[in-house]
Subunit: 369 residues, 2 copies
DNA sequence: ATGAAAGCGCTAACAA
DNA sequence: TTGTTAGCGCTTTCAT
């Protein structure tokens, strides 16, 4: 195999030997400079860098990976959803990885795909990643997170379903959910209903647990939970199930999208938000402040979570033996807007309109503003 | 360097030679089987696969990449935003790449980072990617898309600013925007105002061009464009600038988020949507059907776009010389919901309320429902 | 249809 | 502080 030195179209990319030759040093020295190792004179360093620049040299990371056994790549197993939470986490992970000098290889698992996570992890290992991030894992029986590289479970509670070898990081969703629920209780509501996320998500369970904890702490009744799938559509449907309850004055929805769907249903059913029913969401999506009414919600510091998780992962990669550094907890931030109010303001219903049968409102019916 | 055969913790991963030995064939034959090459007897194939399974063999893709010069990896340069459009495109790209047998390496560029795209492309080339996708490129002077591998500009119009070597794919945003605008004209509005996206985005320019084309075709007046930054917040601000116009009965917003912010402002300003002002968005985000009023918008087939773009890219990677296959165009889909209506219905203003000074509505003001 | 040998471009160990 | 020598685990010629 001749390196296309002939007059082919591509003039063969320069290698580190070429740089070495131009700089008048050995190839190993070039390697030293490129890796920032110690014991290189400033003079030599300059010459090497100049030569590299002059030749337009670019490191071949496949060769480096083969020789070193490391790829400086972190694999991410994500869910392949454009939901605000997962998407934000992915962005945070990418940024943190890049800052730490790692590239990112992303594999999505279709939800419901059996063995999806396992297969994704396998393909990443084949790719030689140095570490793996499983973002927003869902609990589908045994998750095969055990592997020869460190694994970060982003959004899973430590211990729950994850093997001890895995690192866990995330916000304390339980605490956030509790804060959301208590906000409603503080406003004077007797109890708070819950529109939950799909229970195979750890995130959904945590939020439900936080809601339950708040009610328990205040010794309130715990209404039956209605479960959605995170979508606004399911929030709308959830509204249909909740609207009939006689003690419905406050709802904690497990995410903002469902809260929006819920509000739409309640509004169409003639219930005013927040006069008749208060609603709290979760996430603080960018639209939350601009829907009508502006949504009271709980902010998730996705960027901080991703950054913190990656710090732990990179530490585990680069110090295989050392104790993991102490995780830092993230601050709770409740954002109070206009979708919550004291229950007292239940006066006379203003409008009474039937909920439209088609949630899309494709028809030109007068809008509910 | 001894392959950790000593009694270290890790028992050294099996290599293809090991598989060959177990199967009783040469190492090259193992390679043949693994790559699905022809001329391997069914018997040998079986033996090799069994041996591989038995040993728990996993291909070392760094070695493969070094030897073959190909990584079977596609690099993606994305914008690092959780906006629905870019996020959806990324998901589509990942799926399509995986289906085609390619892994994905993702690099985000912070918007406003000078030379961001260039640097990202460099790092991907260093990583040895076989092709590059630049998602939702923005026009910041010369985009250095020229490179030794095929580049797909996803969301850029063919030709505009992209070198000839690049492949372009995307929806025909101009056509979609024209359709949105014509929907409003068809309803009887004399003209349509435009809340545009940031003009350095190709997507924003295309939508504006489509809007202008529709007005020109119908010989209508073209009101001054108000520019936002895609966010609901900027839509709200845009509303402040638009609300004073005397002929404001219809607005085409360049994306759904801005439309939502705009509607919020108009509502607070005492203008009803759609009775006083009709609003059309762009994207059809999942929430579009559930905000109040449900948003008339134009659907972008992100998944189709990504799939089609990747088809072209993979073709270019695997057939460097061949002509590119003909791109398929995507269907226009206008989703009519409740935020648009004929202008005639302008009757008597019902409420007249000042726009609140704080867009977040943190106060417990009665909601605008 | 299968095998032998060479080498991809780098880093790791050991010298000097 | 710098250089020498071996591989890393595959794919690629070229034989057979």
């Amino acid at each position: 195999m001749t390196r296309g030195t002939g007059r082919g179209k591509t003039p063969a990319a320069p290698r580190s030997v070429d740089v070495a030759q131009v700089a008048g040093v050995s190839q190993k020295t070039v390697s030293r400079v490129l890796n920032g190792e110690r014991y290189v004179s400033e003079d030599v360093r300059r010459r090497v860098l100049d030569a590299a620049e002059q030749l337009g040299y670019r490191l071949n990371s496949a060769a480096r990976a083969l020789a070193s056994g490391r790829t400086r790549t972190i694999g991410v197993v994500a869910l392949g959803t454009a939901l605000y939470g997962p998407a934000s986490l992915l962005i945070g992970v990418e940024r943190a990885a890049r800052d730490a000098g790692y590239a990112l290889s992303v594999v999505n698992t279709l939800e419901g795909d059996p063995g999806g996570v396992g297969g994704a992890v396998q393909s990443l290992l084949e790719r030689g990643v140095d570490g793996i991030v499983v973002s927003e894992p869902i609990d589908e029986g045994a998750v095969p997170l055990a592997s020869e590289v460190p694994v970060l479970a982003l959004g899973a509670p430590a211990g729950a379903g994850t093997p001890a070898s895995a690192i866990a990081a995330g916000v304390d969703s339980v605490e956030l959910a509790r804060a959301a629920t208590e906000h409603l209780l503080d406003l004077g509501h007797r109890t708070v209903h819950h529109l939950a996320g799909p229970q195979k998500w750890f995130a959904a369970r945590d939020r439900q647990a936080g809601w339950r904890a708040a009610l328990t702490a205040h010794d309130r009744e715990q209404p039956a939970v209605v479960e959605g799938d995170w979508s606004a559509a399911s929030g709308y449907e959830g509204g249909r199930r909740l609207a009939g309850r006689s003690d419905l004055t406050a709802v904690f929805a497990a995410n903002d999208d469902m809260a929006v769907g819920l509000i739409r249903f309640l509004t169409e059913a003639g219930l005013r938000v927040p006069e008749d029913v208060s609603v709290v969401g979760f996430d603080d999506i960018p639209l939350a402040a601009y829907v009508l009414p502006p949504l009271t919600t709980v902010r998730q510091p996705f960027d901080d979570v991703a950054r913190e998780g990656l710090r732990l992962l990179v530490h585990a990669i680069e110090n295989p033996d050392a104790e993991p550094p102490a995780p830092q907890s993230q601050p709770v931030e409740l954002v109070v807007r206009a979708s919550t109010a004291p229950p007292a303001s239940r006066s006379t219903p203003v409008r009474t309109r039937q909920a439209s049968p088609n949630p899309d409102g494709e028809a030109h019916s007068p809008p509910a503003v």
